[in-house]
Symmetry: C2
Subunit: 113 residues, 2 copies
DNA sequence: CCAGTTCGCAACTCACGGGTTGCAGGTGAA
DNA sequence: TTCACCTGCAACCCGTGAGTTGCGAACTGG
């Protein structure tokens, strides 16, 4: 469990950037219809190309999917990988809690100071 | 909910690096006694100073705590902020699911629950 | 006291990723 | 058809952060 699984790793790498986090939330807020890069760029102060790059990173991590509608490329949220990353986070915390419990038990019969 | 809360943001920024993820897991695996930077560096192929920097980043995010024991500086896992990040991840997925549910309801009114 | 660790600070290098700009190619609508 | 719009590709700039190295200070044990 030392190293997170590949899927979770990719998600955490992708979400390591603040712009990407906000972008992911925006795509999610766009609902099932999704959002285009130009739409997202209009509401922000960065160029469309920068948004496209971020969306490609999110897509590589499996967090967004792209579909061509007419001449538009609409991105929609793909929430499944989020669960993997979340699971790893909680697993680290859970392992810690388990260790604490074992420690408490072992020290209970040997009072130190 | 568009922007993740500051605490979760800091955690995700810190965990955006693979070395830091592995380091966090190692510190967690060290248990309540914690681990020193030199110990962690001995098992890895990077310098002690690099490890120290990573631990400082993790500490800034509240993910590890430092305590001086003799002349050693031992780092231990601080699992609380992990929950914040995990909560944000699941909240994004949950918001998506809610939107899907509302969409399904509005498109087909006669669907049984 | 002296030697051996171990830590912390600071300066430095360097690759990488976020961002921009320019341009060509399709595609929908008038 | 023609025009306007949206997209994709490529080249480029530049800041930042990951990593190294060197050194002085502080603590520990013989």
């Amino acid at each position: 469990m030392a190293a997170p699984p590949a899927r979770a790793s990719a998600v955490l790498d992708a979400l390591g950037d603040a712009t990407r986090r906000e972008l992911l939330a925006a795509v999610g807020a766009a609902g099932a219809e999704g959002a285009t890069a130009t739409e997202l760029a209009a509401e922000r102060s960065i160029s469309r190309q920068a948004i496209v790059k971020h969306l490609q990173v999110l897509a590589a991590a499996g967090l967004v999917g792209a579909a061509k509608v007419g001449r538009e490329q609409r991105y929609r949220l793909e929430p499944a990988p989020l669960a993997d990353a979340s699971a790893w986070l909680t697993s680290v915390g859970a392992a810690w809690d388990r260790r604490l419990a074992r420690l408490a038990e072992s020290t209970s019969r040997r009072t130190a100071p």
